[in-house]
């Protein structure tokens, strides 16, 4: 069972997508700089956001 991440849980699906894009851009910069500390952190955030997006996405008709 994933533990809840308060700031991510509070996001709407659209907000979560925007945050995902913002953090994905940061991750690309960290990868370019080979900043392993920031990369590890952003992987956790992106994974949490992606999980939240899939859980809050409207059901397909």
């Amino acid at each position: 069972m994933a533990h809840p991440i308060p700031w991510i849980s509070a996001l709407t699906s659209d907000q979560a997508r925007a945050e995902f894009d913002r953090h994905a851009a940061m991750r690309r910069e960290a990868a370019e700089a080979m900043d392993m500390t920031e990369l590890a952190h952003l992987d956790f955030v992106l994974h949490g956001l992606q999980r939240h997006i899939s859980e809050t996405a409207p059901a397909e008709p």
Partner: protein
């Protein structure tokens, strides 16, 4: 592969259960550790280590990020970039991992300790604990390469990884970061294993040339270790007056000689046993060159 004692097995099993318990940890820590373990074992093989030694490297690398279990969630999942203080908390995962795995014992204890504690060291001395060159234990130098490659290239559920050719080119471009011998062995091995379309023809040519190039090219003048064409490694330190002084020589056959001391007999096996900046060589490690892996 040495037999693991009961205390070590219990502790490793406990860490594995903790990592499996949370899907985020399972995906971000455990899956990463397993990929790094496989890459590390292959690199150990490419560097000339025998099967049992490769298995030891695998097990040590498998738990290299265990300390992330103890990093506060507020840091792991913090929105936006980390502050300087938060980066320090994140960097503590190496020390926290050592605490978590303190009960691990037996023949693997040193390898696990070294992989966990030192996998963020850079060969040029700009890593977490500022160890440089051969003072970084060999298993940690191996895991460091595999760790960065996986972070750059692994495809996750939420992103495509960097193409192998791009990741290798990036690593080859950061010459100070990695053991120059091991990096060349790793590049050669990955070029051999990568699907043809994962590396562009131009990248393949450049990376093949890199893998065959002289590792000495990466050793910066003024750095903690100088590798002479004869195969001798010269280790340096800076004294209290800021003067750079030679502390030890490693002969091509692995014999260590402290400056002002008599030669030691045979290769040193424990890097931490050396008193100067120079550390021991790994018994059985064949340095990668044009003929290997």
């Amino acid at each position: 592969m040495p037999k693991l004692d009961a205390a070590t097995l219990d502790r490793l099993a406990w860490v594995d259960r903790q990592e499996r318990a949370d899907p985020l940890l399972s995906d971000e820590v455990r899956a990463h550790e397993l990929r790094v373990a496989r890459l590390s074992a292959r690199l150990a093989g490419a560097a000339g280590m025998d099967g049992p030694r490769q298995a030891q490297v695998f097990t040590a690398a498998r738990f290299h990020d265990a300390g992330k279990l103890s990093v506060p969630s507020a840091v792991l999942f913090k929105p936006g970039r980390l502050t300087a203080d938060e980066r320090l908390q994140m960097a503590r995962h190496t020390a926290l991992g050592v605490e978590i795995l303190a009960d691990a014992a037996g023949a693997l204890q040193d390898d696990i300790h070294d992989a966990v504690r030192y996998h963020h060291e850079r060969y040029d001395g700009n890593g977490y604990e500022r160890l440089a060159g051969e003072r970084i234990p060999l298993v940690a130098r191996i895991v460091a390469i595999a760790d960065v490659y996986d972070a750059l290239s692994a495809t996750r559920s939420y992103k495509d990884g960097m193409a192998p050719g791009d990741a290798l080119a990036k690593m080859a471009g950061d010459r100070g970061a990695f053991d120059p011998f091991l990096l060349r062995a790793f590049v050669a091995r990955r070029l051999r294993d990568a699907p043809p379309d994962a590396v562009t023809p131009g990248q393949r040519a450049a990376l093949e040339a890199f893998s065959l190039s002289d590792p000495m090219d990466d050793v910066a003048p003024g750095g903690p270790v100088t590798i002479k064409r004869s195969g001798h490694r010269i280790f340096w330190f800076v004294d209290g007056g800021g003067n750079r002084k030679q502390s030890a020589v490693m002969h091509p056959d692995g014999r260590m000689q402290q400056v002002g001391a008599r030669e030691t007999g045979g290769p040193a096996s424990d890097p931490r046993a050396a008193t100067g900046p120079g550390a021991g060589s790994e018994p059985g490690l064949r340095r990668a060159g044009p003929e290997s892996p």
